[in-house]
Structure formats: structure tokens, C-alpha cells
Symmetry: C2
Subunit: 135 residues, 2 copies
DNA sequence: TCATTTATGCAACAATGTTGCGTTTTTGTT
DNA sequence: AACAAAAACGCAACATTGTTGCATAAATGA
């Protein structure tokens, strides 16, 4: 699984990358850099940042930012690649204000946004509230 | 105008706050901290950060974050207050990938998002593409 | 004008992320 | 299996962004 994923994105399969990707595959929701660090036995901070950057650039993971200095990372759907991340028109992000988890959620119908005289390439939707577990 | 705005949010009208608020009132779009700094003759960095924080907390301005370490600030609509920022269900944010400006745009109809078994309190919508000026 | 409350300015610190560079590892090819 | 080229790693140093504590100054209401 891990090997196959890295290979499909044409990324070299180093021990560290496999370990980091393993962390993502083990997490149901989006995670922060600190979360990743906590799940690694030992690591080099710089290498981790470069790993994350290359994962993002190659369509393996995507970044989620929300007001209040919240920055998280989550696995991409298969269709993402180095040329485009296709979350737009696919899924939205939801932050639960009780458990503070951030979910990637697939919407049954993704709203269409038209802005007069603007050309809209992509849309990101972020919600806050209470998740199904905390409710 | 500036005085009235500060007073309406019950903020003390210091010279520095008036100057910073003036910067926002002179800008059509969202601006970064660096943008603000560039428009001030002289300033103390710490005071600026505290000024921004108090403006946000009191519903004068709001923060806009987008993937790629983009963080900007923009004036709030009048209705915002310390208790709630009401942009959700009011306007969206759009980043033009040509001019890199970030616009606050009022949508004619703001989409309603329902997530089964989740309680949705607020929604933020962010678009990217090309603005009316660059088109 | 005065007392109280709040804001300012400086120093020090903290968190997060980047760049340069020599060494090591991966990979595709002999 | 051995080799050469390309890419990734790990360390040091640095950069950017934001915060906290505290003494001083300014704003406000009385
Ligand atoms: Mn997602
Ligand atoms: Mn806005
Ligand atoms: Zn929750
Ligand atoms: Zn534009």
C-alpha cells in the first residue's frame, strides 16, 4: 500500500517517507506537523518539512488552513497529482469546535459558485460546528 | 469616520489605531501585515500585532487564510462584533492568481451546506481564479 | 484636574519554516 | 552485482512571524 502509493506518484521510497506516509494512512482525520512529529520515533525536522512539501507537490497530501493559525494536512483522494489538486468540487473541510478535529467530508452535492465577471477555477469550503461524534 | 468606527466598537482612539484603521479604509481589498507595515511611516511591530488582534476581537476586521501561507486582513461588514463575526452566510473570499489580490465578495445567494449528523455553525467559502480586472 | 484603566514600546523569547552544503541513499543501467 | 547519476538526508545557520513580561505613557470618565 505505502510502497504502491509512493511509486504511483514517482517518489523515491526512502525509509523516512514510508514512515511519514504510514502516519497519514493510520489517521482518520487531518493532522498537524506536530501530530506527525509525535508519532515518529526520531526524525530530522528539516527532512520532515521537505518530505511534507514533496508530498504536497506530488498530490499525495493537501494542506488545510483555517483562521486562528490552524494548519493541518490530510491524504488526498487518488485523483490528485502534481498538476492539480482536485479537492475543489470534491470535498469540504469541517472543524469541530468540541474535539477540534478537522474532517475531510464528501458532500453529496457540491455547491456551484458563480461570480459575475470573475473566472472561478476552484472553490474551497470550510465549515465549523460540532461533529457527529461530539453531538 | 475613523473616530466613529473605533468608538462604535468601544475601542480607545489612539493615534496609532487611527492610523492603522486608516490604512484599511484606504484599501479596496484584503491586505497583509506586511502591506500595513509598508503603509506606516514608523511603528512598533508588537503594538501593530496587538492592534490587529484587538481589531479582530472587536469585529472591526477579519482574518483570511489560504493554503500557501497566505494570511490577509480585511474590514468587516458593520454587523460584526466581539461576539460574532458574521461573514459566514454573507460573503466569500476570492484570490486572483494573476494579480494575487484577495477580494471580499458578496454573493447573491449564499449556498446552504447540510452535513448529515453534523451541526454546522458557520461556513467559509474561498475561491481562486481570475478577477474581473485581470480578465 | 485627577484616578483608573488601557495602550505603548522595548527586550527577550517562542514557534515555524527555509537555505546551503557535504554525505548518504536510491534508482536505473551496465 | 557493481556502477554512475540523481535525489534525499542531516546538520548548522538563518529567516519570518508572532507572543509575553514589564515599566512608562496616554486615554477616558468622573
Ligand atoms: Mn481534505
Ligand atoms: Mn472578507
Ligand atoms: Zn468533534
Ligand atoms: Zn486579478
Amino acid at each position: 500500500m505505502i510502497e504502491k502509493l509512493l511509486k504511483s506518484k514517482k517518489l523515491r521510497r526512502t525509509p523516512f517517507r514510508k514512515e511519514v506516509l504510514g502516519v497519514f494512512l493510520n489517521e482518520p482525520n487531518a493532522i498537524s506537523v506536530t501530530d506527525i512529529e509525535a508519532r515518529l520515533k526520531q526524525f530530522d525536522r528539516i527532512t520532515l518539512y521537505r518530505t511534507i512539501k514533496s508530498f504536497i507537490e506530488n498530490g499525495l497530501i493537501h494542506e488545510i488552513v483555517m483562521p486562528g493559525d490552524i494548519k493541518k494536512l490530510a491524504l488526498c483522494p487518488d485523483e490528485c497529482s502534481s498538476v492539480n489538486h482536485v479537492h475543489t468540487t470534491q470535498h469540504m473541510h469541517f472543524r469541530c469546535r468540541m474535539c477540534e478535529n478537522i474532517f475531510c467530508l464528501n458532500l453529496h452535492e457540491f455547491p456551484e459558485i458563480n461570480i459575475p465577471r470573475f473566472k472561478v477555477d476552484s472553490i474551497e469550503i470550510q465549515g465549523t460546528g460540532i461533529c457527529n461524534i461530539c453531538l
